[in-house]
Amino acid sequence: MFSSLVGQLGAAILDIITETGDFVTVSARSFICVFRLPFDGRRFLYQLSAVGVNSIPVVVLTSLAVSMVFAVQLSFGFRQFQAEGLAGQVEGLAVVRELAPVITGLMMAGRVGSAMAAELGTMVVTEQIDALECLATDPVHFLFVPRLLASAVMLPLLTGMAIFVGYLGGYTLLVAVQGQSAYVYGQDFYKLVGFRDLAIALTKGLVFGLIIALVGCWRGYRTRGGAEGVGNAPTSSVVTSSLWILISDFFLTKLLLV
């Protein structure tokens, strides 16, 4: 009984180490492949559209909703201390430093990362990845690189857009609904926020973009089995990349704010 448990625990630990090693190896290959020719500009442009342009509605809606809800909570909270005027300042700080990058990252993990895992997973089970290998083409170079670069470019841009939409969300709630001065809100939103905070937000967007693309592509590339494997790949990709987004957010915040 005891030895069986120890055996299972050992096997689970070995699995984790093996998977981690494989992810690190494939990720390293992806970064090396970024500098290899030929560069497939057409696929890169297509991915810019798939990752970025097509995600604009999702990012706008989630950022608007979250920033408005957050403004409601701040306004309610500060009213307890007769300090409603601080709501705009804290809203700005929260949106720029945390809400915009994290919400964008999590939404993209769900929309883009899962799509990458499903697409590559389907290619694995229909032997298209093997066909690439047989046509002397490295699947990591052909499939990972455009997605990785497009995510690295588009996630910071989407994060910047989420910040702007967050500003509008707070404005809608605090100015249009609660009657704060538009001028004061405009001043307050950026009062506690410096250029460094914007740089931190965009850096987080970049890191989250890399995580989403690498995890999504890797989960798809390592799909095993048929329809069940393809079904599991996106789920597993979203869970893994969301966890890593939250974990890396903590460390990035600690490191970059020092």
């Binding site: 032997e127 290998e133 046509l135 002397a136 083409t137």
Partner: protein, 267 residues
């Protein structure tokens, strides 16, 4: 020196031994057909030849180079001289027929777009699919997909062609068409080829030699005439297509094995 040499090749997946010390060699310009039941290791053999699977023991040499000793770049270079036709075609569904066939030309040659288009058209003509350049794989029938797969495999003018069950799931007429195309490619291009098939008619038409895989082992490699009269009970059962015999681990019970006396309507 054989173009493809398979030496004592063994491969297992977990406890399931798929290939168990297989030896085969294919000379330049020769067409080898590999027969065998489902799960007898035929596709795994092709994948080991292509370097997609790493054998547990033994090795494969391609024109004297040991496949599993090649680096990633060397393997990619070696694969440029091999055309692989997959069982279900494995066309890239995000690309048109033209892009599929021209894929390797775009990536590995310095052809101008006009030269590439001409070569794509030439390849499609060879498989009887003239004018299908703009179609998507989803708009093609099973037989057309296989033929586009053939066209993609021959685009780079490979020295070796590998066919993985090219006629499985096709109607008898399309099966014959595919068999004829393979024969034409063999005569026109003079390539060395390995064909895995269950279709005995086309197997005897295209083969210079026939090999039979059974439970991971190679039972025979011989010329078609000799293969037909090979006394091995497994080979004879396979050629007759009988349910009874040593071929199956779990043959159907006798009552199920009896055939109805008349299955065809009178002409």
């Amino acid at each position: 020196m054989p173009v493809i040499d398979v030496v004592n090749l063994s491969k297992a997946f977990g406890k399931k031994v798929v290939l168990d010390g297989v030896n085969l060699s294919v000379e330049e310009g020769e067409s080898l057909v590999v027969l065998g039941g489902s799960g007898s290791g035929k596709t795994v053999l092709l994948r080991c030849i292509l370097g997609l699977f790493r054998p547990d023991a033994g090795h494969v040499t391609l024109e004297g180079k040991v496949v599993q000793d090649l680096s990633r770049d060397e393997l990619a270079e070696a694969r440029k001289s091999i055309g692989m036709c997959f069982q279900m075609a494995a066309l890239f569904d995000s690309m048109s027929v033209e892009e599929n066939v021209g894929f390797a030309l775009t990536r590995h040659t310095k052809m101008t777009p006009a030269e590439r288009d001409a070569r794509v058209e030439e390849c499609l003509n060879m498989v009887g699919l003239k004018g299908t350049q703009k179609l998507r794989p989803s708009e093609l029938s099973g037989g057309m997909k296989r033929r586009v797969g053939f066209a993609r495999a021959i685009a780079l003018k490979p020295k070796i062609l590998l066919f993985d069950e090219p006629t499985t799931g096709l109607d008898p007429v399309m099966t014959d068409v595919i068999g004829k195309i393979i024969l034409d490619l063999k005569t026109q291009m003079g390539v060395t080829s390995i064909t895995i098939t269950h279709d005995l008619k086309s197997a005897f038409e295209i083969a210079d030699r026939i090999a039979m895989l059974f439970r991971g082992k190679c039972l025979a490699v011989e010329k078609p005439e000799a293969f037909k009269v090979n006394p091995d009970a497994v080979i004879q059962q396979f050629l007759r297509g009988d349910a009874e015999g040593p071929f199956l681990d779990d043959p159907p019970p006798p009552s199920l094995g009896k055939r109805p006396s008349a299955v065809l309507p009178a002409p």
